[in-house]
Amino acid sequence: MATHYKFLNVIEKCINCGACFAICKDQNKVPHGTARVKIVTINEGRPGEKNIPVSCMHCTNPPCEAACPTKAIEQKVVKDWQNKEVIVVTVDKHKCIGCGYCGWACPFGAPQYPHHLPAELEERKGIMDKCTMCVEPFDPKKGEERLAKARCGLFCSTKARLGGDIAEIYPQYKEAKARSTMAWQERVI
């Protein structure tokens, strides 16, 4: 039974260290100027400052898939690094025509349209790029064996970003969230 792979962010714990951004770049060789995950800060510099890592959330009903005219965006089942069948949202770069509809449809601003593409796709500018859950690139030696392993979740410096099987990470999220709020006001002397 395939299960959904998701991201949950305990924003009370995010300290904007940039680990998710950097490991994503390192792991997936994301071109300069493009970010598959980016930390957005609100109320910067004043009490109430919050940091929120934003990326593709691998929606259960992805609006981008509905908007895509060429069926380049699809939900697929792959294996994860713990050998479990998981569902992620993928983009086929050979089918994408760079129309940008997914960018309009996505509520998170996840789709990116980098200008610097690998050589074989060079002639088609603006092909959509987004989080792949670190699904491994295709390797002919291994055939169809493909493993998903979201590095940003594993490397997050404060375990604020949880990536993986929603059934596994949701209890962790709830536990982390329980007492991580701004507790100061509640405990009056």
Partner: protein, 951 residues
């Protein structure tokens, strides 16, 4: 919604080569993590990664440690065909459980950086020229001999590094000794030297008392001048876990930092007034009778005389000095004395507290606050100094310092003889032979400079331009893994670098050692291997030592630091003392002749003062191996092994680790557990005149033994300092009897021999409050502090009304994306993308008055010069107050990682071609004030005055 099984197929082949490095273009063949089934029975939570390698031909995962801060995070380097193609998390490492920050996750990029220095280079006739290793080393050695004979051995300054492994740090200190000088120093001087002096003079050892993971058990975590969210992001893993369990997290800082954003409470105070604020809290605690009287009576000394000083710092008095309202100080005092659930409170700091003229006293004040409520020596309590570099604790332990010998031994004849006896075991050397290498000063006086503290790194440039108390000024400098832009007063630095006869830079990158000086020749730079290309041990801030494996063989034409030291020693005629041949290593291995295992064993043998003795390479490697073969052996709660053959051992064997049977001492002064299980007591270190073995007394005749305590011991159990000098003893019988060889002494509220026995508030050299200078003046001038004349009072008085000219407070700090001088991180695409430019933080109210918009170019100026930077308009910094119709006391914040531009003029063209960093900026330290800590000569970077105007 329909989903289809697999087959993302060939379509998604991401084959973007990240650089012209052809071996890396085959990135499509990344590691698959099979082999999980075989070990999944052990744990469900953290499946094994390391064991995947046998099933994955061509992919190897190598355990290593990050180099970007002193947390000591572990990670796996992923090696394919001898090339590091990325990193994978090391989830079983108890310190970080896989977590890393942006700098850590960029390690593969930093290691493979095409901007690294590739071959030795020399500047000749204004041009950079490639030279061979042999030619470079010959030239350097000949120049050293020339300088030594012409000007004396003290005219060469050795600037070492906290980035080097323990072994090569130790070798570096030994190298300076064999060259006949104490002029060796490194980053610890400008990082936590005041912490070492402050803590060691309070209770014995100058190190972080509790491990990182232990903060999970704290009831209250208080930050003073620390921004862990940027400087030690993975420490926040444990702090936020503590907070989740109900701890309070309070940040006291002049800025609203990223750490403050996740805190329960944030208190803004004026830069340089830490002592006043701490004493305000202490005053309220004692007034309200919340202090731990039992603890104070049994284990401390000097409370009454301390109170004579502190009683004057009432919250109202402190409010005027610090900006903090008296009610807030009272609240802080309540919280400090009443942490939730009865758990202890810990206090944490970093450069914000240490880099002041009163740095040592700041730290003393924090330690006194810990003593006041008896929070120290308990899980969850303690004074946690967050050190900066990955091995700065280790480099301090091996003492790449101008006032110490390895393991914090002093420079007295007895201490020299101790180390020479160790060195003599390796190759013959006598005390007299070594003493003959040192100069006499004044000439003919018979006083050897062997016993005199050397030039500190914070003022080495002054020792070039002024007349230090040694035969001649500095004429040659080794910059061995040190970013010079972290040293104050860049223009003075530039002048000094142009005046010396030769600069030798040893670093993976060219750095500003190669480029700051505008000179046509006299610079040789050598490409050192990165930490990931050489084996060695590293000690993190919590005294935990980990064995760092090389991930790949040295890239380009780079060489391990130890190899370079030995080659120079060979040319200088004492190579036998620096040859540690390990026949198990292949002849092609550059570390074969400088085996880290053998060097660590030599250091361990002599390191009785801090007891590295149990940290043998075999034990360190066994811990790492155990961590690889069985999951979750070492607990994330207390870093102790709970199962397997290493049961009971603490991760990294934190010192003091008395011998090879000892599990390590994770919490210093934790006196409720037996010594053999990691117990410890305050040392009986302090002995005024009149003390005898068995009876250490203070200057006013009070015994320094705690209630029912005993003095330090010889190995046979008699009183004496034998535990520091008896190299052939194992001290097992004392440990078995639960006797702590370092004694059971009292912690000191009053340190009688220090410049201020009890810390008092002293205004910074450049204070925005002329009215407070008379009441809280700085120190009197010192004629000879670390061989240099050091003015305090004179320059403070002269600048008394400087605030009229320069109204704003200048302070500096960290960016999470960059590290130290930034040569590595500013060469990394991802990090530069996150943080591409130097800026100054300025409050919106100030910016509006000055007509400055966000990201405008502005000049920040003071007496040392001016820098042209972007304006970052943010409420992180305060807006100051209006006094006499003028805005004053607004804070201007500068990150300090930048170099490459000086006073608006780029000197990027002076880098060797192809090694220029990706991003340049003005150095914040161009504006650093000429203030230095009175005890350790730490530079004052956090409190100066400046003005700002639109460019």
């Amino acid at each position: 919604m329909a989903t289809r099984t697999n087959s993302i197929g060939k379509s998604n082949g991401i084959r973007m080569s990240r650089r012209t490095f052809t071996k890396l273009t085959a990135l499509g063949t990344a590691a698959a993590l099979s082999g999980i089934g075989s070990v999944s029975a052990i744990t469900d939570k953290f499946p094994m990664i390391a064991s995947a390698s046998p099933e994955e031909p061509g992919v190897k995962l190598v355990k290593s440690n990050c180099t970007h801060c002193a947390v000591g995070c572990g990670f796996h380097g992923r090696v394919e065909n001898g090339v590091c193609t990325g990193i994978e998390p090391w989830l079983e490492n108890p310190i970080n459980a896989g977590s890393m920050c942006s700098k850590g996750t960029s390690i593969a990029e930093i290691l493979n950086s095409p901007l690294r220095l590739r071959t030795p280079m020399e500047k000749v006739g204004g041009q950079w020229k490639q030279i061979s290793w042999a030619e470079a080393l010959d030239k350097i050695a000949n120049k050293m001999k020339e300088i030594q004979s012409k000007y004396g051995p003290d005219s060469i300054m050795y600037i070492g590094s906290a980035k080097t492994s323990n072994e090569y740090c130790y070798l570096m200190r030994k190298f300076a000794a064999f060259n006949g000088t104490n002029n060796i120093d490194h980053q610890a001087r400008i990082c936590h030297s005041t912490t070492v002096a402050g803590l060691a003079n309070t209770w014995g050892y100058g190190a972080m008392t509790n491990p990182w993971n232990d903060m999970r058990h704290s009831g209250l975590i208080m930050f003073f001048g620390e921004n862990a969210a940027e400087s030690h992001p993975v420490a926040m893993l444990h702090i936020l876990e503590a907070k989740r369990r109900g701890a309070k997290f309070i940040v006291c800082d002049p800025r609203f930092t990223k750490s403050a954003a996740v805190a329960d409470m944030w208190v803004r105070f004026r830069s340089g007034t830490d002592i006043a604020l701490l004493w305000g809290i202490a005053n309220e605690i004692v007034t309200k009778d919340w202090h731990n009287k039992d603890f104070i009576a049994k284990k401390t000394y000097g409370f009454e005389k301390w109170w004579d000083v502190v009683k004057n710092y009432t919250p109202e008095v402190v409010e005027d000095i610090t900006w903090v309202p008296a009610a807030t100080i009272r609240q802080l005092a309540y919280e400090w004395a009443h942490p939730p659930d009865g758990k202890p409170a810990c206090i944490c700091w970093a450069m914000g507290a240490t880099q002041h003229t009163v740095g040592t006293q700041n730290i003393r004040a924090m330690a006194c606050l810990e003593l006041l409520c008896g929070h120290v020596g308990k899980p969850g309590g303690g004074t946690n100094a967050f050190r900066g570099h990955d091995n700065v604790q280790g480099s301090s332990d091996t003492s790449v310092l101008s006032h110490l010998l390895p393991a914090y031994y002093g420079l007295t004849e007895k201490d020299w003889k101790h180390w020479i006896s160790i060195w003599n075991e390796h190759a013959p050397i006598t005390y007299e032979e070594l003493k003959a290498k040192f100069a006499e000063y004044p000439a003919g006086s018979g006083k050897s400079l062997m016993n005199v503290t050397g030039i500190p790194v914070s003022r080495w440039h002054d020792a070039v331009l002024e007349a230090p108390s040694q035969p001649n000024p500095i004429k040659m400098v080794f910059v061995w893994g040190h970013s010079l832009n972290s040293i104050g007063r860049t223009k003075t630095l530039k002048a000094a670098m142009e005046k010396v006869e030769m600069i030798v830079g040893v670093d993976p990158h060219a750095t500003i050692a190669a480029s700051l000086a505008d000179r046509p020749d006299g610079i040789i730079i050598l490409p050192a291997s990165t930490q990931f290309e050489q084996d060695g041990s590293v000690t993190n801030s919590a005294r935990q030592t980990q064995w760092r494996n090389r991930i790949v063989e040295p890239l380009y034409d780079s060489r391990p630091d130890g190899w370079i030291i030995r080659e120079l020693a060979n040319r200088l005629g004492f190579g036998q003392h620096f040859t540690y041949e390990d026949t198990a290593r292949p002849t092609s291995d550059y570390q074969r002749m400088v085996s880290p295992e053998l060097i660590l064993k030599e250091f361990n043998r002599g390191s009785l003062g801090i007891m590295y003795r149990g940290k043998t390479p075999e034990r360190l490697k066994a811990q790492q191996l155990q961590c690889a073969t069985e999951c979750n052996v070492f607990s994330c709660e207390d870093c102790q092994a709970k199962s397997g053959p290493l049961t009971g051992q603490y991760w990294g064997l934190p010192w003091p680790c008395w011998n090879e049977n000892h599990p390590g001492t994770p919490i210093l002064y934790h006196d409720t557990v037996p010594i053999k299980e990691g117990g410890h007591y305050f040392r009986t270190r302090f002995r005024a005149t009149g003390s005898t073995p068995g009876n250490p007394i203070s200057d006013d005749g009070v015994s320094q033994l705690q209630e029912g305590g005993y003095d330090q011991k010889n190995a046979d159990g008699t009183d004496g300092d034998g535990w520091m000098y008896q190299i052939n003893e194992s001290f097992q019988s004392l440990i078995d009897q639960n006797i702590c060889p370092s004694g059971t002494g009292r912690a000191r509220f009053r340190a009688w021999e220090m410049p201020d026995p009890v810390p008092v508030h002293r205004e910074p050299i450049e204070s925005p409050r002329p009215d407070l200078i008379d009441k809280y003046p700085t120190y009197n001038d010192v004629a000879d502090l670390y061989r240099l004349k050091t003015p305090y009072k004179t320059i403070q008085d002269e600048r008394k009304n400087l605030v009229n000219e320069y109204p704003f407070i200048l302070t500096s700090g960290r960016q999470v994306e960059h590290m130290g001088g930034g040569a590595e991180t500013r060469s990394c695409h991802y990090l530069v993308e996150l943080q591409p430019e130097m800026y100054a933080e300025i409050n919106p109210a100030v910016a509006m008055e000055l007509g400055i918009s966000h990201w405008d170019w502005i000049w920040v100026e003071n007496r040392r010069g001016r820098i042209k930077v972007r304006a970052y308009v943010t409420e992180r910094v305060n807006e100051g107050v209006i006094r006499n119709g003028r805005r004053v006391e607004a804070t201007i914040f500068l990150p300090y990682h930048w170099a490459g531009i000086l006073e608006g003029v780029s000197y990027a063209d002076r880098w060797p071609p192809g090694t220029e960093e990706l991003a340049y900026g003005e150095s914040a330290n161009t504006l650093t004030v000429e203030g230095f800590d009175r005890t350790t000569v730490m530079q004052e970077t956090k409190a100066a005055l400046c003005k700002v105007y639109k460019a």
